[in-house]
């Protein structure tokens, strides 16, 4: 019997699809950012990555079960601390920029931009959702957050095709952060 948490990849797939139809669903993705952080802060290590991350399972499913991965070894630089923490820094900087543009919409400096930005550069017009029901900043954050989720999915798929199914997990900012938090917490215990 499979356990419930082995089906979380479906949650990830549904999440990405829902956001496509209505951008406001993007907010749900905050769960995938806050849960791993909270769990590692309370001392559960990388239990989120190890057992509950739908995205990791999705790559495992596509790359492993559906054999969409070349299964090559990842280049050593990607697993280096420099690259992983560098990517984390870059990712969090861009995340901060996104939160700031949400703030600019919140305080009325900017108008709502209905675009999804891929790989921090490619802007896709994304205006089929009626977001009039919510404050513009709520919609703006949804666009920004969905951009982050889609961008990381694209990078993850790319490295899944080229290397092993869960190559994304080597440089995933959430994974790097939860490992970093665990290291700080259990510094003394490392053998």
């Amino acid at each position: 019997m499979k356990k419930w948490n082995e089906y979380l990849w479906i949650f990830s797939a549904v999440y990405l699809t829902l956001g496509f139809f209505n951008i406001l669903f993007a907010w749900i993705g905050l769960i995938c950012m806050l849960t791993p952080l909270l769990l590692s802060i309370v001392g559960k290590g990388k239990i989120y990555c190890n057992s509950y991350c739908g995205r990791g399972q999705l790559f495992e499913f596509l790359g492993g079960r559906l054999k969409l991965s070349a299964n090559r070894n990842i280049p050593a630089f990607i697993r280096s601390k420099w690259f992983r923490y560098g990517f984390l820094t870059f990712f969090m900087t861009m995340f901060g920029v996104m939160v700031f543009s949400t703030y600019l919409v919140f305080n009325g400096t900017n108008n709502l931009q209905e675009v999804v930005t891929l790989l921090w550069t490619i802007q896709l017009p994304w205006n089929w959702t009626n977001t009039a029901a919510v404050s513009p900043w709520v919609a703006q954050f949804a666009f920004g957050f969905y951009s982050v989720m889609l961008t990381s999915t694209i990078l993850g798929l790319l490295t899944m095709f080229l290397f092993k199914p869960r190559s994304w997990c080597v440089y995933c900012p959430m994974g790097t952060m939860t490992q970093g938090i665990s290291m700080l917490k259990y510094r003394g215990k490392v053998k």
């Binding site: 990388k46 697993r79 092993k164 080597v170 994974g175 939860t178 917490k185 259990y186």
Partner: protein, 65 residues
């Protein structure tokens, strides 16, 4: 005897190896790195095949006296 060995300074603690191990020989030490219990490991290489960081390898170990 062949046993799995982890390069623990480069392991990302993703737990993919742990899932793949048929002998439950692997634990993730406090979210920091994978740890192999050599008493359980049978050297099947399943962990080595799936490790996305390529930091777990099955190597020849001297048999314990």
């Amino acid at each position: 005897m062949k046993k799995a060995k982890v390069n623990q300074t480069e392991c990302v603690a993703c737990g993919v190896c742990k899932k793949a191990c048929p002998r439950q020989a692997i634990t993730i030490f406090h979210g920091i790195y994978a740890d192999v219990n050599e008493d359980f490991c049978i050297g099947c290489k399943k962990c080595q095949k799936v490790c996305p960081a390529s930091v777990i390898k099955v190597i020849q170990k001297e048999a314990a006296l």
